[in-house]
């Protein structure tokens, strides 16, 4: 068993109404950042995971995302990094 530091990003599914992202985009426009065309606000999770290999850590994290960390109806997830902790 080795310990891996895993980073996961969960974001609202593209195409679904994202009022929070829109509110942030509007605020950025108000500040003069007119070049911002869209914002999506999600969650960034950092986990320490004990697993037999990097592939195993990735597989376990995927299961965690499917069962708890992301809502399959409204969100998409991406395992951003898996690195030895």
């Amino acid at each position: 068993m080795s310990r891996f530091k895993v980073a996961v990003q969960v974001v609202p599914r593209r195409g679904l109404l994202d009022p929070q992202g829109k509110a942030v985009a509007d605020a950025l426009h108000t500040l003069g950042f007119g070049g911002v065309s869209s914002v999506h606000v999600g969650r960034h999770l950092v986990l320490d995971v004990d697993a037999s290999s990097e592939a195993d850590a990735r597989k376990l994290t995927r299961q965690m995302c499917e069962r708890l960390l992301a809502n399959p109806v409204t969100e998409d997830f991406e395992i951003a990094t898996v690195a030895p902790a």
Binding site: L17, P19, Q20, A23, R43, N71, V73
Partner: protein
């Protein structure tokens, strides 16, 4: 008849849900602690409103793994009635007892107000004492009530009569302003395929006496009593 009201850490509608069957129906209520594995003989389970687990991660996402949810799910699978109100609706969706999800209100505002609903299906165990198309007023109090599902699921819900309550314009509201949270197809409440699990964002338990501002939720409890006790 006995109503079992689940208290999760962060529930705040459990007392209202506990009182409603006692005060409105003269029936029995019992609190069910989320860590227990015992429905205490409840005929009807109520998942009440509130902020279980502080809405951490997503509303309802963690409460669905509370120990008692195993018994609640088994009760539902046996055809036992489950009334899932507000946070309870969010928990029921997360638990897979109902399809779809409840997302942040489109306005990003927490809305606490009496709201007009139309009874879309008066042929469920929860709504038999209403008239079809009846307009009722029931309070809402939520920040994450925007019902969302894919088009296929929405079409199926509509086709099977599973859309039970819809937000509807009343006399006082402009036609475009009646949907308080941006729910798809104005959906306020749905039942499961078998019809024994009702999820709804509005609070019928807070509308069982005219002194509360509305008694329009009373018929929901009377429907349960009539149909489940029969």
């Amino acid at each position: 008849m006995k109503f079992g009201i689940v208290t999760f850490p962060g529930s705040n509608g459990d007392y209202d849900a506990y009182r409603a069957p006692i005060d409105a129906l003269a029936e029995e209520s019992v609190y069910l602690w989320h860590k227990d594995h015992d429905l205490q003989g409840a005929d009807v389970v109520i998942l009440p409103g509130g902020f279980s687990y502080g809405d951490y991660l997503r509303p309802g996402a963690i409460a669905r793994f509370s120990p008692i949810m195993q018994e609640v799910t088994a009760h539902a699978r046996r055809g036992g009635p489950v009334l899932a109100i507000c946070n309870g609706f969010q928990i029921a969706c997360e638990a897979g007892l109902l399809p779809g999800a409840l997302q942040r209100n489109a306005s990003l505002k927490f809305v606490c107000a009496p709201i007009a609903l139309r009874v879309e299906n008066a042929d469920t165990i929860f709504t038999s004492r209403y008239d079809a198309r009846q307009l009722i007023t029931v309070p809402i109090a939520h920040g994450d009530g925007r019902y969302s599902a894919d088009e296929e699921t929405l079409d199926r819900l509509e086709g099977e009569g599973q859309v039970v309550f819809r937000y509807a314009p009343d006399r006082l509201q402009a036609a475009e302003a009646y949907n308080p949270n941006g729910s798809m197809r104005d959906i306020a409440g749905i039942v499961s395929t078998e019809g024994n699990v009702l999820g709804m964002m509005p609070h019928p338990e807070r509308a069982v006496d005219p002194v509360l501002g509305s008694a329009d939720g009373l018929a929901l409890f009377e429907s349960i009593l009539q149909r489940v006790a029969a």
